[in-house]
Symmetry: C2
Subunit: 240 residues, 2 copies
């Protein structure tokens, strides 16, 4: 009766771990899924691979998990929850937002699949966690109530955009069994050979691509938005 999305352990049994020690559980499945995704990439999570790793059948997994989408969201949420929990400190709201953004960047660097998973969890738990963390800091920044959602939304979408691209780059490099820097290098080479008439800008930044620091650029973008938020507040004060 405790099927899938139902409440787990509604009537909790008195003592110890019931059932045999090696029994299946939602947590064990999620844990195995994360291990699989980390080691084999986005495409590595299959019910067959999962069955083998857990020494069971596909049907047994479906008893604890709704479907693959549910499983991926749960795995994603597990990473996001940890990440959010580890970034609560910070001197100023701006510093906290930077720390939080950096935490997300590192999390996605360590688990690239989270970047693409986040794209498919619209409005669900992982996203809510991020929105909540960002929102509390935006409030602390003194942004007016009416503008809070737009501001949080800007930060969120920017972070999700970088997350998605980083995930895609890593995944792209993995399928060609080269590493990320080699991929960026190859991309820079292609860009530098574009037609100067049609693509003057792309051609000119190709060199910067080769030596740039993903993380620094990411934080520069966060600072750009934070600076824009400061402008919002300045406008408000000017009017009073």
């Amino acid at each position: 009766m405790s099927r899938c999305g139902m409440i787990k352990n509604a009537r909790n049994t008195p003592r110890g771990p019931q059932r045999r020690e090696e029994s299946l559980s939602r947590d064990r499945i999620i844990e195995a899924s994360i291990a699989l995704l980390d080691s084999k990439g986005e495409g590595g999570l299959t019910f067959r691979a999962l069955s083998e790793r857990l020494a069971t059948g596909a049907g047994a997994i479906y008893w604890h998990v709704e479907n693959k989408s549910d499983l991926l969201t749960a795995a994603c949420d597990s990473i996001i929850a940890r990440t959010m929990a580890s970034c609560v400190v910070g001197a100023t709201p701006e510093a906290t937002i930077r720390t939080l953004a950096l935490g997300m960047f590192d999390a996605i660097d360590a688990h690239p699949w989270v970047g693409s998973a986040l794209t498919h969890t619209a409005g669900q738990l992982p996203m809510v966690r991020i929105v909540e963390c960002l929102g509390q800091q935006v409030r602390a920044l003194g942004v007016a109530d009416k503008e809070q959602w737009a501001v949080v939304s800007a930060l969120l979408h920017y972070i999700l955009g970088v997350a998605g691209q980083n995930a895609a780059n890593t995944q792209f490099a993995r399928t060609r069994s080269i590493d990320r820097s080699n991929f960026l290098d190859a991309m820079a080479t292609v860009w530098s050979q574009l037609d100067p008439k049609e693509y003057p800008f792309a051609r000119s930044v190709a060199g910067q691509l080769r030596v740039h620091d993903d993380c620094a650029d990411f934080l520069a973008g966060i600072d750009l938005i934070l600076s824009g938020i400061r402008g919002l507040r300045a406008d408000r004060i000017d009017l009073t």
Copy 2:
């Protein structure tokens, strides 16, 4: 010999459309793919459905197209190319960036699958087009050479982030055969019922979610970044 990515029509035949009128071609395949994606959504693009619509076999399609990823990228590029071509005008660089962003928003609203397709085209043609358009305007804004990539990257990632989320929302709603606004309404309801202790912010903005305008929020984010860029330039002028 003109297989897949090879040069087409290297030795062009003298007169008229060679081969029979209804012959297959890369363009006809891409056109049909777009129609399929628009009408059936992300999952609607299948080599079987494509075969049926084009009255041919799967093997014939593979003669003109490398694989599904190549096909999706080409379809995506077709939309992006049109979008970029239709947004070249504008009074100021800032206005042009806004127009461009708006064009992207509308394009993804009309073809939601483009949002997720863009995530999987890292460094390829569609992305280069967007980078080029943004880059030229950022240059015109007077941003220093060293900072141009970071600024373009921020705008690009923000746009891609919104694109991906909008695509996900539309797709999510489609699979449940409800429309987008009903989905956002349902999401707002869930958020408003969250634990006030744990999710005070998410709970408080739930109401705004119900009545907000996606496009307005998107443009507000663009303005936030543009405002941050203005700040960059101000700093630079202060130093000289």
